[in-house]
């Protein structure tokens, strides 16, 4: 309401966002919930597994990371249904949460997301949290199939080939998707900034 005369012309934000902080080590009794990683029941028609490992800069799996995914349904519709925290077994809400296990592996049961616009590349939005990670990181995992759509994707086409590859999942023989996250080092996953350079929070 106030502070309309903000000088940052390119950024309409009028209030300064509250800083994030690490999720810490002890989220394990707070954030996970029953069926948190099952966007639909495992084995149900159309369900696939999305899985992968979260690695640190030394190439070691991170045993204390937690991931969230948010995606459209298989038709590309953005879902507006509640019920993510109390799964009823048939309502697809598009949201899931998976803490990694001892070996750094996360797993979701979900559907292949559809493109939200005709011809767009289909992807799942991901937020990554971990002990030792000072702030959450956003990224995306794209389906590998539609080469044409991937080539035309504004984000992917702004990346060189090696970095681009970090955002594209591998299709497994069973129809599932495998996608690893590397927080640092060789093959470092592309993490996203939606705020523009002026908003802070970028790696120093």
């Amino acid at each position: 309401m106030n502070r309309q005369t903000n000088s940052r012309m390119s950024n309409p934000t009028k209030l300064t966002p509250t800083p994030g902080q690490t999720v810490g080590p002890f989220y394990g009794y707070a954030l996970p919930y029953e069926k948190d990683r099952e966007l639909l029941a495992p084995g149900s028609p159309g369900s696939i597994r999305l899985q992968g490992t979260v690695y640190d800069g030394a190439g070691h799996p991170i045993p204390d990371a937690i991931l969230e995914i948010w995606q459209p349904d298989s038709e590309g519709n953005v879902v507006h249904r509640t019920g993510s925290l109390v799964r009823d077994g048939y309502t697809f809400t598009g949201f899931g949460r998976s803490a990694v296990g001892k070996t750094g592996v996360y797993t979701f049961t979900t559907v292949n997301p559809g493109p939200t616009e005709p011809g767009a590349a289909a992807f799942i939005s991901v937020a990554v949290f971990a002990r030792g990670l000072m702030n959450r990181l956003f990224t995306r995992v794209y389906l590998p199939e539609n080469e044409e759509a991937l080539a035309a994707d504004p984000l992917l086409s702004s990346l060189d080939a090696e970095r681009r590859g970090t955002l594209i999942a591998r299709r497994d023989a069973d129809g599932g998707l495998t996608w690893d996250i590397r927080l640092q080092g060789e093959g470092e996953t592309v993490f996203l900034d939606f705020e523009g350079a002026a908003a802070g929070g970028a790696a120093q």
Binding site: M1, T13, K14, L15, T16, P17, T18, P19, Q21, T22, G24, P25, F26, Y29, A30, P32, D56, A58, H60, I62, D64, W70, E75, N77, V78, T82, G83, S84, L85, V86, G94, A99, K102, P113, T116, P118, A120, S125, A127, A130, R131, G132, L133, M134, N135, L137, F138, N146, S158, R163, L183, Q184, E188, L192, D193, F194, G200, G201, A203, Q204
Partner: protein, 302 residues
């Protein structure tokens, strides 16, 4: 709710605040790597404080020379030793949010019971400690209330102990306190929790490392790009200058945004001390007047 805490999930979580990141590797079968785990216990607070001071001074100088204020924590903040191998070394890549990112998962009262916002009634007896109320509003960067969204909190008990098997701090567990709460924000973005003031707790980042008392907060906005997890602190904590997690936000004004204020109007006579803390998410990137995104949804024409 406490009796619903899924102990299977909770016990499966191999979480430790010990910074020897290599410890779990033995179970993974991964090839041994060259880096040596930091022997954090050998490092003194004075050593860490000097490191933090030097980063703070460099930031103050940059600010003076015209650099923009940093409003978020640094991802690369070596005094928090666990961050050394867990921060991206490349700059975050700018992306314009696309359809799915311009919306947020929907949560509602079917997801969260009204009683989940009171952390003092989850067991048969009253938890030990100073009963407090923590209330505030969740706003977006344009000052709009974030209505009907999920807020999750978790915290240590009044003795500074988390109900987590890997928390080895020899302080008592409280059988009447789990330390987990949730609520759905009101139409004005308001939230309110009844809980117990958490104690400071020791961690092993360095010798004699203590976290200032804090409550972890997890928040959703109206767009997934607004998602944050953060920590709320209490005013006047003497541990602020010593804590690498709090100090990872190098800007004092930004740090202050994580500190609640005591609010006597919120304090209830003969009942509880009140703290107020408002949370601001990033600004909206969606055009709210038109839902153009829905027009073509479902058309897999490719």
């Amino acid at each position: 709710m406490p009796e619903d805490v899924n102990l299977e999930i909770f016990n499966a979580d191999p979480i430790t605040e010990d910074v020897s990141d290599a410890a779990p590797q033995a179970e993974t079968g991964a090839a041994p790597k060259k880096y040596a785990p930091l022997d954090a216990a050998a490092e003194s607070q004075a050593h860490l404080s000097a490191e933090m001071k030097s980063i703070g001074e460099a930031y103050a100088k940059a600010l003076k020379d015209g650099a923009p204020a940093e409003t978020q924590p640094r991802l690369d903040y070596a005094p928090y030793r666990s961050s050394v191998l867990r921060h991206p070394t490349k700059d975050l890549h700018h992306a314009d949010p696309e359809t799915i990112e311009l919306y947020s998962p929907a949560f509602g009262h079917m997801d969260v019971h009204a009683l989940e916002s009171d952390l003092t009634i989850q067991h048969n007896g009253e938890p030990v400690g100073e009963r407090i109320l923590v209330s505030g509003r969740v706003l977006d960067g344009d000052g709009r209330p974030v209505a009907g969204q999920l807020v999750e909190i978790w915290q240590a008990n009044s003795a500074g102990r988390y109900i987590h098997k890997r928390d080895q701090h020899p302080a008592p567990l409280d059988p009447n306190f789990t330390g987990v709460g949730r609520c759905i924000t009101g139409a004005d973005g308001s939230y309110s929790f009844t809980t117990i003031k958490p104690g400071a707790y020791p961690w092993k980042n360095h010798l004699n490392a203590w976290r200032p008392a804090h409550i972890h907060f997890s928040l959703f906005g109206q767009e997934f790009t607004q998602r944050i997890v953060t920590q709320m602190y209490f005013p006047g904590d003497q541990l602020f200058p010593l804590d690498p997690i709090y100090q990872s936000i190098v800007d004092q004004d930004a740090r202050d945004r994580l500190v609640a204020t005591y609010d006597h109007d919120l304090t209830k006579p003969e009942w509880a001390i009140g703290y107020r803390w408002d949370i601001v998410l990033t600004g909206s990137k969606r055009t709210w007047t038109e839902n153009e995104a829905f027009g073509t949804a479902g058309d897999e024409s490719e």
